[in-house]
Every structure is written in structure tokens, then in C-alpha cells.
């Protein structure tokens, strides 16, 4: 399946300003794996040692929250996946 991952602009310095990344995968986990292969600087930022998404990020598919995150959740063709980092400034 082909999907697009949209990244929070606060991550731009780790992605050379690439904030929209096309990926392929059957599941969220596979899509995240491909994302960090394409943008290796994101790996330590996004994933813990077991390959799970850090708790400071949330994932939305087509604008809908998918909490609690299941890395085996299927992805459909054309899905837009938003990875949202917590922003705390005021």
C-alpha cells in the first residue's frame, strides 16, 4: 500500500525540510520503518529501542486519532498519516 506521512514542521531540521514523505507498507509499523530508512535522522527521535513510537508522538490517519497505537494496524492505499509531536511553548 502507498501512503504519505506528514511530519510536524518542528522536525524539519532532522529531515532536510522534507515534511511529506511517500511510503509503502501494509501496516503503520512498516510505514514507520520505511520512513526512518528514508530519513535516518528521525530514527532515534521517533522510535524507542524496541521500534515502537515514542510516547511524545501521536499518529493520525486521514485526520483521525488511532490511539492506542497498534503498529500492526493496516494501512490503505492513499492514506495520509500525520505524526504529531507535542509542542509546549507559549
Amino acid at each position: 500500500m502507498s501512503a504519505t506521512i506528514e511530519l510536524s514542521p518542528v522536525l524539519a531540521s532532522f529531515t532536510d525540510n522534507q515534511l511529506s514523505v511517500p511510503v509503502t507498507g501494509q501496516t503503520i509499523g512498516e510505514c514507520l520503518d520505511e520512513l526512518v530508512k528514508k530519513l535516518p535522522n528521525l530514527k532515534k527521535l521517533l522510535l524507542d529501542k524496541t521500534g515502537r513510537l515514542m510516547h511524545t508522538y501521536s499518529i493520525y490517519i486521514n485526520g483521525e486519532s488511532i490511539y492506542p497505537l497498534d503498529m500492526k494496524r493496516p494501512v490503505a492505499d492513499g492514506d495520509k498519516i500525520n505524526i504529531v509531536f507535542i509542542v509546549t511553548g507559549g
Binding site: 514542521p9 518542528v10 501521536s58 485526520g63 483521525e64 490511539y67 507535542i86 509542542v87 511553548g89 507559549g90
Partner: protein
């Protein structure tokens, strides 16, 4: 009841369809607690006071520093070294002398948040850290007071409105995740936009107009100049609001 001077002062907003004198009277009776008088708190407080909120209570523990002045427009060069709460109160009183301004430099903690919020009709999150935001979220839930969340970093901002027992709360959004305190990079126009969205939400809530930003996280990307709406679900297992019956 509005005075002739108030009718004149607010005539342009009273003229808005659905707003009217009754909307202005609702604003006049309202009390709003603004947590923070910094980048977000400045536009929130300025626009609520300009709009005629009856009482605005603002809390900020910090003093004004030179590096605040790129975004914290309530504070000026001459205020460096002063308490932000006092600096904010002085400007807001000059902007609109009819408004009751209550300012405190007391830090917001778990033990005093309820007292500081008092009988407010709305709590505005203009903080710069997540732990205090969670305290305010919890206070809002415990007292059944709407909570207006905002946050910024760089050219990016977020906003969401919480109606306790009716919509997702901050804990439903972030599930208790925490981050160490840090000085976020930010340019003033970002909190200006998000603060104005928060103030708009407060005005809509008090006047009963429009559709609130509930169960929706609004993400503002200033560099891409786009707004994205992400749907947030109320978490039935939320340790903060999960026990509240849906209204």
C-alpha cells in the same frame, strides 16, 4: 445592562449578526482566567480586554526579560526586570479601564490552581510547559470549567478547546506524555495567531456563538501557511476525565 459609553465602544461587534447587546452583556459578566502573560497570554489578554470581558485574571510568575520582547507584546523595553503580571495589568488597564484586571505573580501549582482559578467561567492555557498545562486541565475538569489550550514552537502552533465531560481533554490528547522543560524557539507571529484563536474560542463560548474547537486539534503550519484539523477522541479510560458522564 450596557452603559451608553459601552454601547459606543463595542458598537462594531454588537452589530455582528447574532452577537447584539445580549452578547456584549454576556462578555461583561464573564470572568476569564489567563494562565501566563507571555507569547500566548499577551494576545489572549489584549483581545479579551478589548472585547469587553468583565473580569480578566492573569497569572505569571516570571519577570520580563529582553529575550521576551520578540513575541510578548504586552511587555515593552521599559518593563525589563518587572513582574510580567504587573506589566500586563498596567497595559490592559490602559487599553480598557472598564475591565476588572486581577494580576498575580504566584506560581500555578497543584495546591493553589483551584484558588487562583476561583470562580472563572473559562481557563485559558497560555503556559510554556506541559506539567502546568496538566494541572490546569485537571482543575478545569474538577470544576467543570471550559479549558482553552494553545501551544507554539517555531512557526507551528496548536489549539484545542476542552468542555469537561463533553469533549476530549488535554490528557486524552497527550495521554500524560511529558517533556523536559526547555526554551522553545519561536517567532512572535506564531503565538499571535494561536492566542487570537484561543481568545476567539473564549468569546464564542461566552456568547454562545459558532462551533467550538472541541474534539479537534487545530495544527497551524505558518511556513506552509496551512491549518490542519486532527480529530481527537475522548478516551473512556482517561484518568482525568474518563469518570465524567458524557453530557
Amino acid at each position: 445592562m450596557l452603559t451608553p459609553q459601552e454601547r459606543k465602544r463595542y458598537e462594531r461587534q454588537i452589530a455582528i449578526y447574532g452577537f447584539g447587546e445580549s452578547g456584549q452583556e454576556k462578555l461583561k459578566k464573564a470572568r476569564v482566567f489567563v494562565a501566563g502573560a507571555g507569547g500566548l497570554g499577551s494576545p489572549v489578554a489584549l483581545y479579551l480586554v478589548a472585547a469587553g470581558i468583565g473580569t480578566l485574571r492573569v497569572a505569571d510568575r516570571d519577570t520580563v526579560e529582553l529575550s521576551n520582547l520578540n513575541r510578548q507584546v504586552l511587555h515593552w523595553q521599559e518593563n525589563i526586570g518587572q513582574e510580567k503580571a504587573a506589566s500586563a495589568a498596567a497595559k490592559l488597564k490602559k487599553l480598557n479601564p472598564d475591565i476588572e484586571i486581577e494580576a498575580t505573580a504566584e506560581p500555578i501549582t497543584e495546591s493553589n490552581a483551584s484558588r487562583l482559578v476561583g470562580d472563572a467561567d473559562a481557563i485559558v492555557d497560555a503556559m510554556d510547559n506541559l506539567p502546568t498545562r496538566y494541572i490546569l486541565n485537571q482543575t478545569a475538569i474538577a470544576q467543570g470549567i471550559p479549558f482553552f489550550h494553545g501551544a507554539v514552537q517555531g512557526f507551528e502552533g496548536r489549539a484545542m478547546t476542552v468542555l469537561p465531560g463533553r469533549s476530549a481533554c488535554l490528557y486524552c490528547l497527550y495521554h500524560g506524555a511529558t517533556l523536559p522543560p526547555e526554551k522553545c524557539p519561536v517567532i512572535g507571529v506564531t503565538p499571535a495567531v494561536i492566542g487570537c484563536i484561543q481568545a476567539t474560542e473564549v468569546i464564542k463560548y461566552i456568547t454562545g456563538l459558532g462551533e467550538l474547537l472541541t474534539d479537534r486539534l487545530l495544527v497551524y503550519d505558518a511556513l506552509g501557511m496551512k491549518f490542519t484539523e486532527l480529530h481527537v477522541k475522548r478516551d473512556p479510560a482517561c484518568p482525568r476525565c474518563g469518570n465524567l458522564k458524557s453530557e
